[in-house]
């Protein structure tokens, strides 16, 4: 672990009661969702983590409480270090704060999360679906949505399956 990364992780841990874990040389900080904007601000301004590389969600349906964890990955170019932040988000109130004000490129990542996981972001300027069509019902990357396999059509069941196939309305 680099010096800058170590100090950063320890500072955040002390100040925001975070939980540091390490797996295969990756440092992850588990934080409460209320502090994420402040933490990102501190990491960007004081510890040179100037790039948001990635933002995504892992759904621990029926495995962990709270159900979701939003994963942020920050990169410091000066020290070439990466830090992972995770903030739990519960199922009954799936809303967390947006970091668009700090990292402008969080915009599309958060839209993608809303689209695929149904987590809303407070303070996001344009929270529309991004990958799925407008008006789509549900959030398919949630674990309670089954992975569907389309049944193969043969002559004997073609008409039946064609009827059940969802179609776009005109």
């Amino acid at each position: 672990m680099g010096n800058n990364l170590q100090t950063a992780a320890e500072t955040i841990q002390e100040k925001y009661n975070g939980e540091i874990s390490s797996f295969r040389d990756q440092i992850t900080l588990l934080l409460s969702k209320d502090s994420i904007v402040e933490v990102c601000q501190i990491l960007r301004d004081d510890f040179s983590f100037g790039v948001l590389v990635d933002e995504t969600v892992v759904d621990y349906w029926r495995r962990k409480e709270p159900r979701f964890q939003v994963v942020y990955q920050l990169h410091s170019r000066q020290h070439d270090e990466r830090i992972f932040l995770r903030t739990p988000v519960s199922d009954d109130n799936p809303i967390t704060s947006s970091v668009v004000s700090i990292y402008p490129n969080a915009n599309w990542y958060e839209r993608e999360i809303w689209d695929l996981f149904g987590i809303r972001f407070k303070g996001h300027p344009d929270l529309r679906r991004i990958l799925l069509p407008k008006g789509y019902q549900g959030h398919p990357l949630r674990k309670d949505v089954p992975i569907k396999v389309e049944e193969t059509r043969f002559t004997f069941n073609n008409d039946e399956l064609a009827r059940g196939k969802p179609r776009a309305k005109d």
């Binding site: 990756q26 995504t56 892992v58 759904d59 069509p133």
Partner: protein, 412 residues
């Protein structure tokens, strides 16, 4: 859960906070570009607000190629899921396989023999050249230089022939596997690659001769789509689009994987951050890739191409008839797969477009609990509105070409 959706166009009401007030009064024009426009390099839709021919706002609309690869990967074992990675960025199939396999290897701590690593580098660099050739072909075609398109596809065909030689497939190779390679390269591989290396540098000269000093091309690219280094970093841009702005960052140098530290190569950097700089950088990168492949071919080590760890890598076919243990391993690996330890890994590689990262989260079972791809095209496209604003519609075509997006990479 019943899937129900209706396709409707974006209403003005929905985007009124994205466009200027003048659009609402009808003073400026809203123009729809794509998704079937040939210059958007796939199914990208752009909603443009125009004042005359000047772009005021550019709103990208993506998702037309969304295939749910991340979800599908959750239902497959680690070996099966690799096949899906080819289908994401269809111009960088070897690079996708490499990112995925390196991530799996990091997760289960699997060793890779030196020969396999060297062959991986050769193929990844060949793929980089092939991808840059497509980029050059389409970029030039967008700017009305039609002959370059034909020349580039001619050379790309030679690379695809090499892929076919080693894997049987021209594009979706799945040749790199967790723990090494599918099999060793055939004898003809060396001649084929050396043949290609022998005449490809002259071809690069030819492309440059057609474009670099061509006033028509230079007029359309210099000073267009300028992005400063700081802005590029702020927007999370990576790859040649970032290096075109003079920011020295390439994962092959910064965080070498698969033995890149053994090879001597330069990272070309641009100065102006415009379309022309990005063009020069990719041309230079092709030369550097040739240089890397030459070194890797010269010191290609001999030895096995697959890890000997039978818990993760299936034994060679020849052992199945004689060894009971090999048969058991083979059967277990292809029916159940292997269990990965619980945890989450992220592994980035340098794809032709930028940082391609694979995040794998394992719950201890044989299937990835969550697979997420940090794709370079997605990140770079997000900066497009910033680059396009204030330019003409015709220049937008040049800018889209210069960030080299692949829609399969964006929509996944």
């Amino acid at each position: 859960m019943p899937i129900h959706y209706e396709v409707t166009s974006v209403t003005l009401d929905e985007i009124k906070n994205l466009v200027s007030d003048r659009a609402l009064t009808g003073e400026t024009m809203l123009l729809n570009m794509g998704p079937q426009h040939p210059s958007t390099h796939g199914v990208l839709r752009l909603l443009l607000e125009l004042d005359g021919e000047t772009i005021i706002t550019c709103i990208p609309d993506i998702g037309f190629l969304h295939t749910g690869i991340e979800k599908s990967m959750e239902g497959k074992t680690y070996q099966q899921a690799e096949v899906l990675t080819d289908r994401m960025d269809y111009l960088n199939t070897v690079g996708n396989n490499l990112a995925y396999c390196l991530a799996v290897e990091k997760l289960v701590e699997l060793d890779v023999p030196a020969r396999a690593q060297a062959i991986r580098v050769i193929l990844a660099e060949l793929q980089r050249i092939a991808s840059h050739l497509i980029w050059l072909a389409t970029q030039a075609l967008d700017l009305a230089a039609q002959s370059v398109f034909l020349y580039c596809f001619r050379e790309r065909e030679l690379i695809l022939d090499i892929f076919e030689l080693v894997s049987g497939q021209r594009m979706m190779t799945t040749y790199i596997r967790p723990g090494g390679l599918w099999r060793d390269v055939p004898e003809e591989f060396e001649t084929a690659v050396r043949d290609f290396l022998g005449h490809f540098p002259k071809r690069i000269e030819m492309y440059e001769g057609l474009l670099t000093k061509n006033p028509l091309f230079v007029d359309r690219t210099k000073g267009i789509g300028v992005v400063s280094g700081e802005e590029a970093i702020r927007w999370g841009m990576t790859g040649p689009s970032l290096r075109g702005s003079g920011v020295d960052y390439d994962l092959r140098k910064v965080k070498p994987y698969s033995g890149y530290e053994q090879y001597d190569f330069d990272i070309p950097l641009g100065e102006n951050g415009d379309v022309f700089s990005r063009y020069i950088i990719r041309i230079q990168e092709m030369r550097e890739s040739v240089h890397i492949i030459q070194q890797a071919m010269d010191k290609l080590p001999s030895g096995p191409v697959r890890s000997e760890n039978r818990k993760f890598v299936p034994p060679p076919r020849s052992e199945l008839g004689t060894s009971m243990e090999a048969l058991i391993h083979h059967f277990k690996l292809w029916t159940e797969g292997f269990d990965a330890p619980e945890g989450s890994v992220y592994l980035p590689v340098s794809s032709p477009r930028g940082e391609l990262g694979c995040l794998l989260e394992s719950d201890g079972g044989p299937k990835p609990y969550r697979a997420h791809w940090r794709t370079p095209s997605f990140a770079n496209l997000q900066a497009l509105p910033m680059m396009a604003e204030g330019h003409l519609v015709a220049d937008l075509v040049a800018i889209i070409g210069s960030i080299d997006i692949v829609l399969g990479d964006i929509d996944r």
